[in-house]
Amino acid sequence: MSAFDRFFRKPAVREAPITLPASDEVPVTLLTGFLGSGKTSLLNEILNSPGFADTAVVVNEFGTISIDHELVHAGQERYVLTSAGCLCCTATSDIRESLFKLYQGRQRGELPSFSRVIVETTGLADPAAIVNSLIPGGAPVVTQQDQVVASQFRLASVISTLDSTCGDDAISNHMEGWKQIAFANDVVLTKSDLLDVNRDTWQERLATINPSAMLHDRHADDFSLVSLFPNGTYDLTNKVDDVIGWLAMETVVGQAHDHAHDPNRHGGIQALPLIHETLLDPRRVQGFLDILTSQRHAGMLRLKGLLGLTDDPARPLVVHAIQHKLYPSKRLAHWPSDDKRSRLMLIGQDMPLGPIQELFDGLIPRSKKKRRKSV
């Protein structure tokens, strides 16, 4: 019996039982990691691998506009469900609702069969709330939806990406970054192609916060996607006391959040969603990105966006930056959906919202400024 069992396992509250078709539980893998640590890139690598064709995906995003799901190359044969919001606050209901929708879709024949689910969390997600909602003895099973999810899905593993170029900052300065690593079975070092990475030194560092985690280098010759998806069930046995305590805290303290609060704000971190419905001037866009990422006091943690530009309207530009590193922009061959608005999401601490908004407002060609719209 684990420490978690000793302290907090309680009988689940159930409504009248409903009859469920016999089936094997579908393994659910939680893919987490701090802002900009490479979750979506790893997810795309997984989805592009033939061995993972029967994978359903749930993508959650922080803030009121969605961009990440547009960048997941799932193809028509897979199902990507997205929910935008503050996942840290609504994790229990959101994740169960998403899995229930997958179950219903499959049962009704509306979705293709799938044999695993990957849940990509926000970069600010608290894995405790999500894990607690998916493990036996965690969040109470109250509704029939909860009952279906508990019987049809099992949490198999937690994977956390760790940016080898600035992962120290995520772990050292952000509670979420620490927790995402502490809960993981597998930690995947990303961006290790950008600098020399000493895996042993990272292993030593992780020993402090998660000695049982398997460390993988995504760019090493021996990296194997298959090894990230072992058969089995997520196990708390070898987790540090902090993990047990955080799960207990979910049970004891509960969701100490007001779900009606601003989904663009999470503690001291705020998301600034920006939208233009007209095409943008490419030179002004570049200037905007340069200014934003060169300002030492902008407080930006993450920027990502999909922008329509006047020079090639049919091919949107994907932009992203992590803290103050602006990564090379990339043109997509076409818009990934019917939504052809330019969307930019900034996430940061104490950002100067007014000046940023004004700069963004100035990105449209002068003749079209009257048609601008921002949220």
Binding site: A3, A128, D168, S172, M175, M249, V253, G267, G268
Partner: protein, 101 residues
């Protein structure tokens, strides 16, 4: 080890997990707890308009029971006196450990 140092970091001193360990040590001393008792430290977002945006919660876990200490500060800003005050307050409210419900 990559020693990349972000010049924009707001808390450039103690790592959050190291400061959490310090808070646990202070709580253990203040409540006179032995090493077998699990203490957990967390920082949660507080949406209440009159509160600071972050709250530090310390949970003391004994078999079948838990005591919660709340400090209305971000974890990085918590000092030993805050933990002592919170422990006194919790002891006053809960002379015996509270049962988890």
């Amino acid at each position: 080890m990559n020693s990349f140092a972000n010049p924009f970091m707001r808390h450039a001193s103690t790592p959050v997990f190291a400061h959490a360990a310090e808070i646990k040590r202070w709580a253990r001393q203040a409540l006179e707890l032995d090493q077998k008792v699990i203490i957990s430290v967390n920082e949660i977002a507080c949406p209440q308009p009159d509160c600071p945006p972050q709250e530090t919660v310390i949970l003391v876990l004994r078999a079948g029971s838990a005591v919660k200490l709340s400090i209305h500060k971000a974890l990085a800003d918590v000092v030993e006196a805050d933990v002592i005050d919170a422990a006194r307050e919790a002891e006053a409210l809960e002379p015996a450990s509270s049962t988890v419900s």
